[in-house]
């Protein structure tokens, strides 16, 4: 195994700018990503609140909002084009600029060197570059709200022709171009980060840290990075082709005979289905790029709060890999009714259902991990249990959609909205919050306030189910997604009260996250001081100081003697043995 050569002690930079702004320290970069994600979450969350405002009281006048959005809410009433910008940007920001930033950028950067026993990432400068590439991508996305025509409004999936033809929808003017540029730059940033993650995990592990002794967080980050590196390039290519269609008269996605704005467009020879294939070739693996690290966090938190290893460590690991491989060949389940060949649809239906098998193994193993444990209900554990529940409910909902035949009725209804919010909205949010409560003491040397945390958990759990559970059922009723107003159809009338309830629950859910932000910033400076291992956890990062010094480990790198889950050992007096504890005994030496 390769280990980093012992080098001269790394001297921390002294100037403010080198230390906190253009820093190459993985911990600072992780924090930068996390804070950026929190800011973007505020924006994207506010967009969701505006959407729910319109859906609860369609056409209502909000004079105050007219002042904030003089264009989109002229006269206080939301315009349809503004609503479409809201759904598009809420989805784009949440998926790429919140969850990816926080889970991969934030946790990935902060945790990888600490959990594998390295002083920093393999390429610290590339790491800094990755973050400082992500910043302009974010700014471009945010700026798109202020250009003519408003932000992109073809949905986060940006299907052409809506996204390719400027006359198709107002957001398809400069907003869509900025969306493409923002995404391309984001992908460049992700690629730098992902490469760095993979190389660091493979090459920078300390002595004794074999691959099989890596904690689940690292494994899932590794799989997610590899998956992202494989899946993102096709979207870059797709986005460039879209840019050409928009600005240079090519016809990759545009067939002949399209009639817009009282004129026939000169395109010929392309098909919108090409974009759908390229988009979902990224889009489906992307779900797992986000989901797997959240599961990894949960799988690492469970041992510390049950005081035992997770159940089925090996089978879970195999399942994670199986999901990753399968996720590359199921993208077509987003396209059952798209006009794609129905025979291809059958292949994708069978393949998609195959993913339920490893997913169910992981779900069952997470529940079974509680068996025989001594459960400690601290905030990280509460969110971890919440994530297990959401993974179950959301995953089971997916069985309705993966079946091509039932998807004929459910496709593009609120069933889909409910389902994907459970998976890439809920499991990731709960995993993320569990992780923040868990690693906050390592990041800042202080604890997050536990009572506020518990209130936050309960409002978030109840709020989440209230918002998204019922969506499955109004989806069964046929309520289509991306509708600005549900009052135009008779068959949607029975869901009026349900939509009102969902909106109110959404406002409560949103408000609860402000409580968390308050707790975060208050505890950062005023929280109770934490020692280096407040949860008595065994993984390597808890052997570093809290917060860790610039070089993480002082003069000597730690040496690892056992796997990361040695809790309640037969021979020990302490109920856990940190990974650096020597000599090896009991279950260490192998995977166990």
């Amino acid at each position: 195994m390769l280990t980093a050569p012992e080098i001269d002690p790394v001297h921390a930079p002294t100037g403010f700018i080198r230390r906190y702004i253009f820093s190459t320290d993985h911990k600072v970069i992780g924090m930068q990503y996390l804070l950026t994600a929190m800011f973007m979450a505020l924006v994207a969350g506010a967009l969701a609140m505006l959407m729910r405002l319109q859906l609860a009281w369609p056409g209502q006048k909000w004079p105050l909002l007219a002042r904030i959005f003089p264009d989109g809410m002229a006269g206080g009433v939301m315009k349809p084009e503004f609503y479409l910008s809201l759904i598009t940007m809420h989805g784009t920001l949440m998926v790429f600029f919140v969850i990816s930033f926080a889970l991969l950028g934030g946790f990935g950067n902060f945790l990888i060197p600490l959990q594998i026993g390295a002083r920093d990432m393999a390429y610290p400068f590339l790491n800094m570059l990755s973050y400082w590439t992500a910043v302009p991508a974010s700014l471009i996305m945010l700026a798109s709200f202020f250009v003519e025509g408003g932000a992109a409004s073809a949905g986060w999936t940006s299907y052409p022709p809506l996204s390719a033809v400027r006359e198709a929808v107002p957001g398809s003017q400069w907003g869509q171009t900025l969306w493409i540029l923002g995404m391309a730059i984001f992908i460049a940033s992700f690629t730098m980060g992902g490469l760095n993650f993979v190389v660091t995990i493979l090459n920078e592990r300390t002595k004794g840290m074999t691959m099989m002794r890596l904690p689940m967080t690292i494994w899932t980050l590794f799989i997610a990075s590899a998956l992202g590196l494989l899946a993102f390039p096709p979207l870059t290519a797709a986005a460039i082709l879209l840019l050409f269609d928009r600005h240079f008269g090519t016809s990759f996605y545009l067939p002949a005979g399209m009639f817009f704005g009282n004129k026939l467009l000169p395109h010929a020879g392309g098909t919108p289905l090409l974009w759908q294939h390229l988009f979902w070739f990224l889009g489906h693996p992307e779900v797992y790029v986000l989901l797997l690290p959240a599961l990894g966090v949960v799988l690492d938190i469970l041992p510390a709060f049950t005081r035992k290893p997770i159940f089925g460590h090996r089978m879970t690991m195999y399942s994670l890999w199986t999901i990753a491989v399968l996720s590359m060949i199921v993208w077509g389940h987003h396209m059952y009714v798209s006009g794609m060949s129905p025979y291809v649809g059958e292949f994708f239906a069978i393949g998609t259902m195959a993913i339920t098998l490893p997913s169910a193994i992981i779900g069952m193993n997470m529940i079974a991990s509680l068996w025989g444990g001594t459960l400690r209900f601290r905030t990280p554990m509460l969110f971890a249990i919440g994530a297990i529940s959401l993974f179950g409910t959301g995953g089971l909902g997916g069985i309705f959609l993966g079946n091509a035949t039932s998807d004929i009725h459910l496709h593009d209804t609120y069933f889909v909205v409910g389902h994907f919010h459970y998976m890439i909205g809920g499991v990731t949010l709960f995993g993320l919050l569990a992780g923040v409560y868990y690693w906050f003491p390592k990041m800042f040397g202080r604890m997050l306030n536990e009572s506020w945390g518990k209130v936050h958990f309960w409002v978030t759990l109840v709020g989440f189910y209230s918002v998204f559970f019922g969506m499955h059922f109004i989806g069964l009723g046929g309520q289509p997604r991306r509708y600005y107003d549900f009052t135009k159809f008779e068959f949607l009338k029975p869901f009026t009260e349900m939509n009102l309830f969902i909106s109110i629950a959404a406002f409560v859910l949103g408000a609860a996250q402000l409580l968390f932000l308050l707790n975060f910033f208050w505890s950062w400076f005023r929280g109770t001081k934490a020692d280096s291992n407040p949860w008595q956890a065994a993984t390597l990062e808890w052997s570093a100081a809290s917060p860790p010094p610039h070089d993480n480990w002082g003069e000597k790198l730690p040496v690892v003697h056992r796997w990361p889950y040695d809790y309640s050992l037969p021979e020990a007096t302490e109920d856990y043995a940190p990974q650096i504890a020597a000599p090896a005994g009991g279950r260490s030496g192998s995977w166990r």
């Binding site: 392309g270 098998l357 459960l375 759990l461």
Partner: protein, 276 residues
């Protein structure tokens, strides 16, 4: 294990278990409700059958999963272990993994292979019967152009070059096949019990032909002619919605779908004045 365990009763043990047990209760209440729009098509019975099958089997998994999770929380919450924890063997873990694999292979893959694909094949992959009523639907922002071929059974040719605001399909009015075509906007009339074949096109962006009561949904894609057929089984007027984001008016791209008894349909058809 039981003799070297000290039990404490933290509040969150009860709360969490109660929360996890409340979820299946809510799920059963919701799942027992009648959410689907009243059914009006033949193949729709197959789709509803799958949905009901999944609501019951998948619902049972959700209920069992949460009951077990709540029970584990209640049983192991707050106990303090004094002695060691014994790891289950790798073999035990492998055997347990078979449980979800077998269950989901049956529920999920079984749902696709046994229940799903036959209905899917009938809807998508089988040729429309010879007695089908053929209707061309051309979607545009934000309307449904409906065309019947008239007595000659032939649709007149369309050409995008001929499209104007007054000629939304680009028809050639002098063509003999076109002269008897019947054009309707945003309304479709069909007979009860006969197969209806839809020839779906789009002249601008993506749309989706969604008939909630008929369990029919199919994207309209510019540059593609997509065909599918189904059999209406209920007389009445139903709503046609667009289910693929198509622009500003997506939410109000509404059409009406009238199912008439056969004689009334023939009467309606004979009363329509042809294109020219």
């Amino acid at each position: 294990m039981a003799n070297n365990v000290v039990r404490k009763r933290p509040l969150h043990r009860i709360l969490l278990a109660a929360g996890m047990w409340l979820i299946p209760v809510v799920a059963v209440i919701f799942g027992a409700g009648n959410w689907l729009p009243p059914l009006a098509s033949e193949h729709g019975a197959g789709i509803d059958g799958i949905l009901r099958y999944l609501l019951i089997t998948v619902g049972a998994l959700l209920v069992i999963g949460h009951l077990v999770l709540g029970y584990f929380i209640l049983r192991f919450g707050g106990q303090e272990r004094v002695g060691p924890f014994r790891m289950p063997s790798a073999r035990t873990e492998r055997m347990w993994s078979l449980v979800p694999v077998v269950i989901l292979a049956l529920v999920a893959e079984g749902g696709v292979l046994v229940l799903g694909l036959p209905v899917w094949d009938k809807f998508y992959a089988s040729a429309a019967p010879a007695d089908s009523v053929v209707i061309e639907v051309t979607a545009e922002q934000f309307a449904w152009n409906v065309r019947y071929s008239g007595p000659d059974g032939k649709f007149g040719p369309t050409d995008p070059k001929r499209i104007t605001l007054n000629e939304p399909l680009g028809l050639d009015r002098s063509d003999p096949a076109t002269k008897d075509d019947i054009l309707v906007l945003n309304e479709i009339w069909v007979p009860l019990g006969l197969p209806v074949q839809i020839l779906l096109r789009s002249k601008d962006t993506l749309h989706s032909f969604f008939l909630p009561n008929f369990r029919v949904k199919q994207d309209a894609v510019p540059g593609m002619n997509i065909q599918f057929w189904f059999v209406p089984t209920k007389v009445g007027t139903f709503e046609l919605a667009c289910a693929e984001l198509c622009g500003l008016g997506h939410f109000e791209m509404r059409g009406l779908f009238h199912v008439l008894p056969r004689e009334e349909f023939q009467k309606w058809l004979s009363e329509q004045s042809p294109a020219q």
